[in-house]
Symmetry: C2
Subunit: 345 residues, 2 copies
C-alpha cells in the first residue's frame, strides 16, 4: 500500500505492530500521515528469530525508501505482553508461543543498528487513539482505552504520557474483579471484566445460553461460534444474544464506574474487535455507569456522542485495528526516550 | 503547643486542617519540623464567617510569631469536600453544614492579603503521608491513600503530585461499586466500598449482626455503638465483631485489587480512624488482594511490613490524624501554584 508520499523532504518514523497472526510495519510522518504499510503474516512456526528477521527486513525496506527524503525519527514496536519494560523482554506471552524470554527491543536494535522503543499493544493502541483518534475528537490530555479482544486490555494516558505503573503492569483493568463469585478467570481471580466483555466471554456466554447449535446463516450444526456471529444474532433480535451483550454492557459499566470514580478522566475509549458491537452493549453500559458512578453523573454530557468541554465522555475507538500501529510509530516522535537511557542491543 | 522552634532564621509555611469538629493550624519548616500547632473548635453554629475569622486569626498569630525568624513560604488549607478546585469553593459539604458556596480560598486570601492554596482533606492526607509518612518508609513516588472515616476518602499521588482528575473528583474510590446488589449508598449506587469499610458501615453491620445491645464494658443497653467499640469487641474475641472486620478486609481487598490492576503503584496506604483496627481487617484484606489481583501476586513483598524495592506494598498510615494538617502545610512548599494562576480574593 502506497498512500501519499510526496517527493519533498520529510521526516518520518516507523511503527511495528507485532500480533499473534499479523505483523505490520508502517512509515508515518510526524503529523500522522501514513506513507506506507507493509503487512506480513507472523511466522510463529518459523520461530522468533525468523519473525525478527521479517520485522527488521520490512523496517529496512521503509528506511531505504523514505530515508532519502527525510530523517528517520525513530522506531516504535507494539507487542502483546507480558512485556518487561523499558527493557522490552517478553515473558511467556500467551499470544506469541515460543517467544518467552525474547529481547524484542535488543533483537531489533541489533538488526537495525539504531535505538528502538517497545511498549505493549494495549498501551500503544491507547496512545494512537489519544494522538490521532478519540483523544482529538474529545480534546483530552488523559484517557483510558479498553480493548475488547481475546482478552480485555487497557491503556492509560495521563497528561499526555503512557502510565506504565511500577512494573509496567498498569492497565490490567481487564482483571478488575466485578463479581468475586463469578466465573474463574485464567488470571487466578473470579468474575474479572474479561470474563464478561472479551470476545472469548461473548462466545462462552452464548454457548451457556444455548446459542451455537446453528451458525447465524443456519448452515448446519456445530459450527464454531464467533463474537461477531453472536452480534449478528443479536442484531437480528435473538433475545439470548441480546442478553449476552447486555451483560457485556453491564460489566463495562461497572469497570468504568471504578475507573471514573478513581481517576476522573475526561475520556474513556472502548475499542478492539468486540467493540464493533457498540450499539448492542452501549445502552446498558451507559445506564450502569450512570447508576454506579456519581462522579459520572456530576459530569455527564447531554449527548454522549457530542463533545462538551469539562464533561466525562465514553466513546468508541476511531482507528480500528490501526490504533496500535499508529501509536507505535508516534511513540518515538512524541515520547522519545532520552539518549542516556537507551541501551543499544 | 510549642515544639522546637529555635531562634535562628528559618523559612516556614502554614497548614490548616478544617474539620467538622476541629480546626487546626500549624507552622512547619520545609523539612517537616513542626514549630507550633493551634487547635480550636470549629464553631459551626457561629457560621462560616466566624470560622474563617478564627482560621485567619490563628494564621496571623503564627505569621507574627515566626515571620520575624524567616520567610513565610505559603499557606495551605485542607477541607472536607465537595470542593471546586483550584477555586476553593465548597459545594454542599455534608460535614460543614452552612458552608455551601463558601469561597474558602478567597475568604482566607482576603483576610491574610496573600495567596492561599486549598485542597481536599483526603488529598492532603495522602500528600502528608507521601512526604513524611509511609511514602518515605516505602520510598514511593506514587501512592493511593484510603482514609476510613465517616465515609471512605481517597487521595492519589502520581509521580509526586496530587492527581485531581478533570473536575477535582478523583479519589472517589470509596464509591467504587463492589456489589451492585449490596446496600444502597447515599451516593446513589449500591455496594460501594464505603458501605463496608467506613466507621459508619462498621457500626451498621454490627447492629445488623445483633451487636450493640450492650456496650463493650457491659454498661447497660442502648449505648451508642462506635467503630472502636466494635473493634474492642473483636479484640476480645466476639465472633460477630470479628465478622464485621473480616468484611471490612474483604471490601478493602476488592477495591485494592481494582486499583492495583489499573495503576500498578508501589504503595497503597490505609488510614483514618477505622484504620486503627488494622490487625483485625488486614489478614482478610491481604488474602483478598492476593486472590483477586495477579498484578499484586507478581510483585508481592516477602513480608508486607518490610520495604522491598520494586514490590507492591499495602501499609497502614503513619501520621494518624496529623497527615492532612502536615500535607496542607507542605503543599505550598512542594507544589506551589505559579503566580500567574493565583487569583487573590
Amino acid at each position: 500500500m502506497y498512500d501519499g508520499a510526496s517527493a519533498k523532504m520529510r521526516a518520518f518514523s516507523i511503527g511495528v505492530d507485532l500480533g499473534g497472526t499479523n505483523l505490520r510495519i508502517a512509515a508515518l510522518t510526524p503529523a500522522g500521515e501514513r506513507l506506507e504499510t507493509i503487512a506480513l503474516p507472523t511466522r510463529l512456526k518459523a520461530g522468533p528469530q525468523a519473525v525478527m528477521d521479517d520485522m527488521a527486513g520490512a523496517c529496512r525496506q521503509l528506511i531505504e525508501k523514505y530515508g532519502s527524503q527525510g530523517e528517520l525519527l525513530g522506531v516504535g514496536v507494539g507487542s502483546p505482553g507480558p512485556l518487561e519494560l523499558p527493557l522490552g523482554v517478553l515473558h511467556h506471552p500467551p499470544n506469541l508461543p515460543g517467544f518467552d524470554g525474547l529481547n524484542l527491543r535488543g533483537e531489533l536494535e541489533r538488526r537495525l543498528r539504531r535505538p528502538v522503543q517497545v511498549d505493549s499493544d494495549a498501551n500503544l493502541a491507547a496512545y494512537g487513539e489519544f494522538l490521532l483518534g478519540a483523544g482529538c475528537t474529545y480534546a483530552s490530555r488523559s484517557l483510558i482505552m479498553l480493548t475488547l479482544g481475546t482478552g480485555v486490555g487497557a491503556g492509560i494516558i495521563l497528561d499526555g504520557a503512557i502510565w506504565h505503573g511500577m512494573q509496567g503492569a498498569a492497565g490490567e483493568s481487564g482483571h478488575g474483579p466485578l463479581d468475586p463469585a463469578g466465573p474463574a478467570c485464567p488470571c487466578g481471580a473470579r468474575g474479572c471484566l474479561e470474563m464478561y466483555a472479551s470476545a472469548t466471554a461473548i462466545v462462552r456466554r452464548a454457548h451457556e445460553l444455548g446459542i451455537g447449535e446453528k451458525d447465524p446463516a443456519g448452515n448446519g450444526t456445530g459450527a464454531a461460534l464467533s463474537a461477531s456471529a453472536v452480534a449478528r444474532l443479536a442484531e437480528a433480535g435473538d433475545t439470548r444474544a441480546l442478553q449476552v451483550f447486555d451483560e457485556v454492557g453491564r460489566a463495562l459499566g461497572l469497570s468504568l464506574a471504578h475507573l471514573i470514580n478513581a481517576l476522573d478522566l475526561p475520556l474513556y475509549v472502548v475499542g478492539g474487535g468486540a467493540a464493533a458491537a457498540w450499539p448492542l452493549f452501549a445502552p446498558r453500559m451507559f445506564a450502569t455507569v450512570q447508576e454506579m458512578s456519581y462522579v459520572y453523573r456530576m459530569s455527564m454530557p447531554r449527548d454522549p456522542g457530542v463533545f462538551e468541554a469539562g464533561k466525562t465522555h465514553i466513546a468508541p475507538a476511531q482507528l480500528g485495528s490501526d490504533a496500535g500501529l499508529l501509536g507505535a510509530a508516534l511513540l518515538p516522535i512524541h515520547a522519545p526516550v532520552p539518549a542516556a537511557t537507551q541501551r543499544p542491543g
